[in-house]
Amino acid sequence: MKKLMNDPKNVVEEMVEGYVKAHPDYIKQLPENDRALVTARETSDGKVGILIGGGSGHEPGFLGYVGDGMADGVAVGNIFASPSPDPILEVTKAIDKGAGVVYLYGNYAGDVMNFGMAAEMADLEEDIQVGMAKASDDVASAPKAEKEKRRGIAGEFFIYKAAGAAADFGYDLNEVVRVANKANDNTRSMGVGLSPCYLPQTGKPSFEIEDDEMEIGLGHHGEPGIEKGPLETADRVADRLVQDILADIEINEGDNVVVLVNGLGSTPRMDLYIVFRRVEQILSEKGIKIYRSYVGDYITSLEMGGCSVTLMKLDDELTKMVDHPVDCPMFVQK
């Protein structure tokens, strides 16, 4: 393991410090808790607050998505560990504009508990209404019948996009939650891992894999996947990922989708576009229309190698949300 870091104990603190210093016109730390970051810009009264968060090591997720059109604040956890309720609660207080706050996070035991506890405190102690929506887009992580058990991976990006836009359009708390859930219901992802990441504090690879192997369906913390197999060509990998997605959600000829080919950290853009090329071929053979494409590192796992493919099926409402402009330090859309 080779990293540009100082004391491994301080990586999250130092990253956050660097981040806030790099983008002072976008984001600031709350004095109450240095893991609680909120937009530096004034948000409008009566707008539903969007709060995101999760473990560190997924950058641009999650702190990179605080800004106009996406989230108003983020609670930052340790590496691959949910934030505790403290920063979540502080962010909640800071971004509530009287219309309540929606928490968006991935479906992981830790996040569910910590965000759940924070939501209870916000209600009881602060009298702030909280709505919640969990991303559970990873097809590999549980059978179709148990979608609610699935974990959230790169598809979280679309949930943020949709909910962030809905809040900007003035939707109320329940409506923002509805849109977030609809985005989640319409979103499916499948990932493939080629090489592990290394936790700064242990220096150990997150999983073992041979030079000629790939791991299908692994999680974006390096949790083992559903199947280890020989490394295949980009086209065969894309075939497999898209096939598993399309077996899980009905997308018909003429339907519109947005596509995300997400790098896990150390996969060159070149490889991602080669994968995208095949994804596009498959979809266009089926008459499925790509409304917009995102290719790059959107939610990573430190320096893990590999990628995921995410499709979100669009309706008119989600199309409007996808088109809404965004201005965040790590993601800008005109």
Partner: protein
């Protein structure tokens, strides 16, 4: 047996030491099933607790306050899955010994039952899900039963910890259902759950302290 706030603090100190020793092992277990950070998370949390023990808690004589501070500190420092779980455990335990500077056998039994039940309530896992509940549920069932039969804490706790051990070991053969490793399905068989392991280590650390105190007292 009598157990003071100082004894609680010694117990928590002993966990700090234990965690540093077992850190790598706990990470190794988590690497097989999950994201490989369980030892790191435990270490971050217990180091934060240690800081409190060496400062704010130095003069604290209220058992409940010690336990509450430990729980809250741990949670703040780590979040994660185990933050809410262990924090809830220590805070529910604290409720039972509220206002006491010294606790007796009965209090201790109730403390540990509340601890384990609190975690179960927080996590909503069942035995067989391959989580720390596989350690903690057999533990509290045995503790309740044994303490009801013979109200001697050390005897009952000793029995309960041996059930906890069996429970922990049973996770090796389980297909995991909760937490990050649940998607592993059959591939999770053979690996012992990290949380089930750290939970057992906490209990057995307490057992050591309790034995020591009893030995010194008698």
């Amino acid at each position: 047996m009598e157990f003071s706030a100082k004894d609680f603090k010694d117990f928590f100190k002993a966990i700090v030491t234990m965690v540093e020793e077992e850190k790598d092992y706990l990470c190794e277990l988590d690497r097989k099933l999950g994201d490989g950070d369980h030892g790191v998370t435990m270490s971050i949390g217990w180091q934060a607790v240690n800081e409190k023990l060496n400062n704010e808690l130095l003069e604290e004589e209220d058992c409940a306050k010690v336990s509450i501070t430990v729980g809250k500190t741990f949670l703040s420092a780590v979040g994660s899955s185990v933050g809410p779980l262990y924090a809830t455990g220590f805070m529910r335990g604290a409720k039972v010994v509220k206002g006491k500077t010294v606790v007796n056998d009965n209090d201790l039994a109730e403390y540990w039952i509340a601890f384990a039940k609190g975690i179960k309530e927080r996590g909503q896992a069942e035995v067989g899900d391959k989580t720390m509940i596989d350690t903690l549920e057999p533990f509290y069932i045995a503790l309740e039963k044994a303490f009801a039969e013979t109200p001697d804490f050390l005897t009952a706790f000793t029995k309960a910890v041996s059930e906890a051990k069996k429970g922990m070991e049973s996770t090796k053969d389980l297909v995991s259902k909760k937490g990050r490793s649940s998607r592993l399905g059959e591939r999770s068989v053979g690996a012992q759950d990290p949380g089930a392991t750290s939970a057992f280590f906490i209990l057995s650390t307490f057992l050591d302290i309790a034995k020591e105190r009893t030995a010194t007292a008698s």
